[in-house]
C-alpha cells in the first residue's frame, strides 16, 4: 500500500475508534493492531504507554475522586476512555514508525520543505542537548548548585539557537543553489 493509502487507512481507523463505545470492541481492535504491528509491537506499545501514562493517570484519578464524591462512578467509563486513548495513540505511533509522515501528507512542496528542515533542526537539537548534558555531568562530580544549572541552561539555549540557525542556513543555501527557491 502507498504512503497515502496508509494515511487514509490510519485516519479511517481513528474515526472508527471514536465512534465505538464498547470496551470489548476497542480491546479487540487493540489486540488486532498489536498483532498486525509485527516485531515492533512491544517497542511501540512501551512508547505509547510512556506517552499517555501521566495524562491518563491524572484524568482517571481526577474522575474517580469527582465521580465518587458525586455518587456516579462508572468503572466502564474508565475502561472505555483508557482503552480508546491507548488504541488511538498506538495507531499513531505505528503509523509514524511505518510511514514517512511528511511524504504521506505531501500537501504542499513548500510545507514539505519547511517540515523536512524542521525535522533536521530537531535532530540537531537532540544531538546538542545530549552533548551539553554529558559535558555538564562530566564537569560536576557532585550535584550542581541551582545557579550552575541556570548558567548551564542559558549557555545551552544560546548554543542551541546559534548552531541550529547555522545548520538551517547552510541547508537553505544548499537548497537555493539547487533552485529550491526559484519561482
Amino acid at each position: 500500500m502507498s504512503a497515502r493509502g496508509w494515511l487514509l487507512a490510519y485516519l479511517a481507523a481513528v474515526v472508527a475508534a471514536t465512534l465505538i463505545h464498547e470496551p470489548l470492541v476497542l480491546a479487540t481492535a487493540l489486540a488486532l493492531a498489536l498483532s498486525a504491528a509485527g516485531r515492533d509491537r512491544w517497542r511501540l506499545l512501551r512508547r505509547t504507554l510512556v506517552a499517555i501514562l501521566a495524562f491518563n493517570i491524572t484524568v482517571s484519578l481526577g474522575y474517580v475522586v469527582v465521580a465518587v464524591w458525586r455518587g456516579d462512578f462508572s468503572a466502564g467509563y474508565l475502561l472505555l476512555v483508557n482503552l480508546r486513548v491507548l488504541l488511538l495513540v498506538f495507531l499513531g505511533m505505528w503509523f509514524a514508525a511505518r510511514i514517512d509522515v511528511v511524504a504521506a501528507l505531501g500537501v504542499s512542496p513548500t510545507l514539505t520543505l519547511v517540515a523536512t528542515l524542521t525535522l533536521g533542526q530537531l535532530r540537531a537539537f537532540e544531538r546538542i542537548v545530549s552533548d551539553f548534558t554529558l559535558a555538564f555531568a562530566s564537569r560536576n562530580p557532585a550535584p550542581p548548585r541551582t545557579l550552575d544549572r541556570a548558567h548551564h541552561a542559558a549557555a545551552q539555549g544560546i548554543a542551541l539557537m546559534d548552531k541550529t540557525m547555522a545548520a538551517a542556513t547552510e541547508s537553505a543555501m544548499a537548497m537555493k543553489s539547487r533552485g529550491a527557491f526559484d519561482a
Partner: protein, 213 residues
C-alpha cells in the same frame, strides 16, 4: 496545553477539522512568495524551538498539560499566517512522533494555540509596542498562552454535555466547564509569566543576531 487523543467527541473534532482546513488554506495562500533562503532557516529554527518547548509538559488536573508554546515568537517574527502553519506542523509532529496531543485533537489544538495564540500575540504587540516594546512582547506572550488555555478548557468542558450515555455517563472527557476552566486556566496564568519572560529573553537575543525583522 495539548488536549490528548481520545478525549474529544467526533461531534467536536470533525467540525473543528472543517474550520481548521479553511484556516490552513488561508494561511498557506501565497506561502511560496513569503519564504526565501533567509526566512526558511529562521522559521525552521523557531519551529524546532517551539517543538522542544512544547515537549516539556506537566499534566494539569483539568485533563490537559502545562507547557510553554513559543507561538508568540513565531507570530512576532513571521506574522500570524506563517506562525499558525508552523505551529500546526509542530503539533502534528508531536502527536505522531511522541503521542503528545493527538490526531483527533489536532484541529482544536492548532486553532487554539496556533491561530488564537498567534493572533493574540500579534494584536497585543501591535497595540502596545508604541508604549514599550519589551512590555508589549511580554503581554503578547502571556496572552498567547492564556487565551488558548481558556479555549482548550471550554472545549474540554463541553464534552460531557455533548457526548454521553443515556444514563449521563460521559463517553469522552468526563469533567464539565466548572472544573476544566479553573483547572486549566489557573496554572496557565503562571505558565504565561514564564512564557513572557522567556519570549523577551529570546526576542532580545534574536534581535541582537538580526533574526527578527
Amino acid at each position: 496545553m495539548h488536549i490528548p487523543d481520545g478525549f474529544l467527541s467526533p461531534q467536536t473534532y470533525l467540525p473543528a477539522y472543517a474550520v481548521a482546513a479553511g484556516a490552513w488554506t488561508w494561511a498557506a495562500r501565497g506561502l511560496r512568495d513569503r519564504l526565501d533562503e533567509t526566512t526558511v532557516p529562521r522559521l525552521a529554527m523557531l519551529t524546532a524551538l517551539a517543538y522542544g518547548l512544547g515537549l516539556v509538559m506537566v499534566p494539569v488536573p483539568g485533563g490537559t498539560s502545562g507547557h510553554m508554546l513559543g507561538i508568540a515568537l513565531l507570530a512576532l517574527t513571521f506574522g500570524v499566517r506563517l506562525a499558525f502553519l508552523a505551529y500546526s506542523l509542530v503539533l502534528l509532529l508531536q502527536a505522531l512522533l511522541f503521542g503528545a496531543g493527538g490526531i483527533t485533537a489536532l484541529p482544536i489544538n492548532a486553532l487554539a494555540m496556533g491561530l488564537v495564540g498567534a493572533t493574540a500575540a500579534a494584536a497585543a504587540k501591535g497595540l502596545l509596542a508604541r508604549i514599550n516594546e519589551m512590555a508589549a512582547i511580554a503581554v503578547a506572550a502571556w496572552l498567547s498562552v492564556v487565551l488558548p488555555a481558556a479555549i482548550v478548557a471550554l472545549v474540554l468542558g463541553i464534552q460531557p454535555a455533548i457526548a454521553h450515555q443515556p444514563d449521563g455517563t460521559p463517553l469522552f472527557f468526563p469533567f464539565g466547564i466548572d472544573i476544566t476552566l479553573p483547572a486549566v486556566l489557573i496554572p496557565h496564568l503562571i505558565i504565561g509569566i514564564g512564557e513572557a519572560a522567556l519570549t523577551v529573553v529570546i526576542w532580545r537575543y534574536a534581535n541582537s543576531r538580526g533574526w527578527c525583522k
